[in-house]
């Protein structure tokens, strides 16, 4: 079991280790990736760029794209932050993620009656 957790000295909050912070950031990126992809495609994004033709399979393709983007974000950020002792605090990351998980799905339907 990992105990790679540090306590901050002053604020009483618990610092997020680089891996935990990268996981939270990747989760946030995953949420907003769907929002951006949906808005882009519903505004006439090129189906060829979607890597899947028109409607058939587009949802599965978008999901796959979100997963890949999230994974890339995780490994990139974990590598970028690996020398830092902490990146933000867990409460702050939790709030950012929860707000994203509520707002991103709603904004993804911007201007759309029924989406893509």
């Amino acid at each position: 079991m990992s105990t790679n957790v540090n306590r901050s000295s002053g604020e009483g909050g618990m610092d997020a280790s680089p891996k935990v912070a990268a996981a939270f950031a990747a989760g946030t990126v995953y949420m907003w990736a769907e929002c951006i992809l949906r808005i882009w495609f519903s505004k006439g994004g090129d189906a060829v760029l979607r890597l899947w033709p028109q409607r058939a399979g587009d949802i599965a393709g978008m999901w796959l794209a979100m997963i890949v983007i999230g994974l890339v974000a995780y490994f990139a950020l974990a590598a970028a932050w690996r020398k830092r002792s902490s990146v933000g605090t867990i409460p702050i990351w939790t709030i950012v993620l929860i707000v994203s998980a509520i707002v991103a799905p709603l904004l993804g339907e911007w201007g759309q009656a029924i989406g893509i």
């Binding site: 891996k19 769907e34 949906r38 058939a56 949802i59 605090t89 867990i90 998980a101 029924i114």
Partner: protein, 182 residues
């Protein structure tokens, strides 16, 4: 459609698919209830509890992924009017559950289905993060107040979205498609 008799019921493969989808939802709800209860009511964690939390979080994640996949399959081709239907035959008549762009309440069906489809992709992401936090922090998930609150709040949001999606799914497949032929 392939169908077989099961006692008084005649069940098709699409019906089995929808039932498997529902069963996965039940598993998800059970695991989420265990996770929230175990973290909420425990103050100290022994190895057994930690193993249980890790296992439950992994089962929840896998079930969510399968739930999303089994939910997405009927949605592929949805906009082109592709029909995904199942039927129950019993003494009361034939109950037809159809997921289609054409006969699903005209406006509300596609709208609800789209909302469900959209929210559903968020939930596996939340479940993965909960799973990561529980596996990474181990017993601190229960014993450290901040990790505990973080995991609990993510679990509550995950459960809320899952129940919201599940309610829409039940409404679409069980209520909106209620008209039946005898």
């Amino acid at each position: 459609m392939v169908a077989f008799k099961l006692g008084p019921f005649e069940v098709g493969c699409n019906t089995m698919w929808l039932d498997a989808h529902g069963l996965l939802m039940v598993i998800v709800v059970m695991c989420l209830a265990f996770l929230v209860g175990a973290i909420w009511f425990s103050r100290q964690a022994d190895e057994r509890l930690v193993r249980g939390l890790k296992a439950a979080s992994m089962v929840t994640l896998v079930a969510f992924v399968l739930l999303t996949i089994t939910g997405l399959v009927p949605d592929i081709g949805f906009e082109k009017g592709t029909t995904f239907s199942g039927a129950f035959h019993n003494d009361f008549g034939t109950f037809q559950s159809t997921v289609s762009d054409e006969n699903l309440g005209a406006f509300t069906g596609p709208l609800l289905f789209d909302i469900m489809e959209h929210i559903s992709l968020i939930v596996p992401g939340l479940a993965l993060l909960v799973c990561f936090l529980i596996w990474h922090h181990g017993r601190r998930t229960v014993e450290d107040q901040l990790v505990r609150r973080s995991v609990l709040s993510l679990l509550v949001l995950t459960g809320f979205w899952a129940l919201a999606i599940g309610s829409v799914g039940v409404y679409i497949t069980k209520v909106l498609t209620y008209p039946y032929t005898r």
